[in-house]
Symmetry: C2
Subunit: 347 residues, 2 copies
């Protein structure tokens, strides 16, 4: 199996090294042949080549069986909205080019982290949500315009029926193998794209009569996620709404530093932590490597069908937490038997 590793920017560099190490260890222990290549993307790629996604990286990506990605972004661009070439363009382009239309974000709390969240333990216990975020459409990819006098800006929010259909089917299939509940999130009381979204999901739902389907407005969903996360099983939503809801949902898992995601489409799978480049803590060696390690676990499961190996990694993470090892983001100040440590020791 050919695996492309793209650490990207900020803490991406530190944590992805650990995701890769875990894959290497699995390869040795289970006698698999994983061949690793490395690619650049984001701010580091702009610095090196002027292009956030160099052709060479895209070429390598197309030829690989799976990709382990870190993070993207840099304060320089955040502080100057007028810059034309931006790191995020690299990430958006690779998603589009590889047809990674379905972004799966499983949100599940490790029991050991019940106390790490700002939400009450009794609200969290048992919460287990699988998000399906559409990843190659929406206002992310619609035409962007700026008037000549620079006083008017627009982004086109746009969806085609087939884009909704294909991700809806994936989400319903997943719901069928879980608790058979699907909640589709939109803003159909205001947006035409959401009305199309809702129409299509209502249609596809008929093919899955065994799955209980519900439609919820995004504002309400953002509230319910905090109020009662246990009511959700599979959540299906558009690109922008999914971006917002899954970051919010990170509080259900105790920390952003724990969350992995898988982007899949028709071929190569793309695995990444949902945390970003986190400039503020980059280079300090304190980032949580578990999201990258769990991304590696998702790769083993989804791209390679290696269920046992994947479970092995998850169990190792669990055991590490059980022993009290914590990075800063998930440490509980009130507990004495937590050993707070840096990225490498945690890995």
């Amino acid at each position: 199996k050919k695996i492309l590793v793209i650490p990207g920017d900020g803490i991406g560099q530190e944590v992805t090294a650990w995701g890769q190490k875990v894959l290497q260890t699995i390869a040795v222990n289970y006698k698999h042949n994983f061949v690793f290549e490395e690619g650049i993307m984001g701010h580091v790629a702009i610095e090196a080549t002027g292009n956030p996604l160099p052709d060479e990286t895209l070429e390598k990506a197309r030829k690989s069986d799976a990709i382990l990605f870190g993070a993207i972004g840099h304060a320089k661009y955040d502080n100057d909205p007028t810059l034309k070439v931006r790191p995020e363009q690299g990430l958006l382009k690779i998603r589009k080019e590889l047809g990674l239309y379905a972004n799966l974000r499983p949100i599940k709390l490790f029991d050991e982290l019940l106390e790490a969240s700002s939400i009450k333990p009794e609200i969290l216990r048992g919460a287990d949500i699988l998000f399906f975020r559409e990843l190659t459409g929406d206002v992310y990819f619609g035409e962007k315009k700026r008037s000549e006098d620079r006083n008017t800006a627009s982004d086109l929010m746009i969806y085609h029926r087939f884009e909704v259909e294909r991700i809806a089917r994936k989400a319903f299939e997943a719901a069928r193998n879980r608790r058979k509940k699907l909640c589709s999130v939109d803003k159909a009381n205001v947006l035409e794209t959401s009305r199309l979204w809702r129409e299509v999901v209502q249609e596809i739902a008929k093919e899955y009569p065994d799955v209980e389907t519900e439609h919820m407005f995004i504002d309400n969903a953002a509230m319910q996620l905090v109020k009662d996360p246990k009511r959700f099983d599979v959540v299906l939503t558009a690109n922008l709404f999914g971006d917002i809801l899954t970051d919010e949902a990170s509080q259900i898992a105790g920390s952003m530093g724990m969350l992995a995601s898988a982007s899949v489409g028709d071929s190569t799978g793309f695995y990444e932590p949902i945390h970003g480049s986190a400039h503020d803590i980059a280079g300090k060696g304190i980032a949580n490597p578990l999201a990258s390690i769990l991304s590696a676990a998702l790769m083993l499961d989804i791209s390679f069908g290696l269920k046992n190996e994947s479970l092995r990694v998850i169990k190792a993470v669990e055991a590490t937490l059980k022993q009290g090892f914590r990075t800063m983001d998930i440490a509980n100040k009130h507990t004495e038997n937590h050993f707070v440590m840096g990225t490498d020791a945690m890995g």
Copy 2:
């Protein structure tokens, strides 16, 4: 003072009666002359006239000094995204026609409700946020299209410089009178509208050097709001992001049933609870009237400059909560000295 009352749909009917009663009591006790009129809007207006915002209501609105509104929406339209005439069009139209471009949503927890939230009390204690949500632009009002074969839908997300400027100024002014911190929320790493937004806010910020300004991506903001609500003072954001964040933030106030909002622009002010029509509990007499009562308090303060009268209402709400009176949404199952009651008793 001429006050137009528009109860609207669902629980709007039940709760707005209480907001109005409070205004009447204040008028009597403080010897003010408030003249009330009533108008229809939303599903009830569609049923009566075919139009979600009849001209007659709009006429009355233009002639009034302030408007007390309830809620809008009905399950019939939510279940059928193909319907052309929809209740929400009434609300969007009145916002646009009256130029209500700034929606203020204060989020503050009454101490008595510390336990009503799903968030831990120690995270919540002291949280006090004032949201400025832009209300007459964004993807809400940009052109909506559906292709002839109905397979493609789009909504135009669009902002003009002056729209960002005027709400930014209002938000900075408010920050100056509070803890002098402003957080502007956007998605400038992806959206051109957000880049315009960020540029303009950066410019206006220079006029307010005494206010500490920060820019945050919407995904991160949705997370931080749950993780550490105390870090926010004034939050400034666009229409869609504001819709999502303020509903989410309702968990900081214990319940959606507690939150009031003021929409202001160049003339008439418009006051409404942020909760919706809540079809599921409408007509049962169990809705929380406090958001409507607090909306009335906002009206007294913002539209009429009656600070004392406004405070009097807020104190009455506080006292009611202190005595243990609760509607269902804010009752704590584990506390014995809560008296759970219906809308009218609570009022």
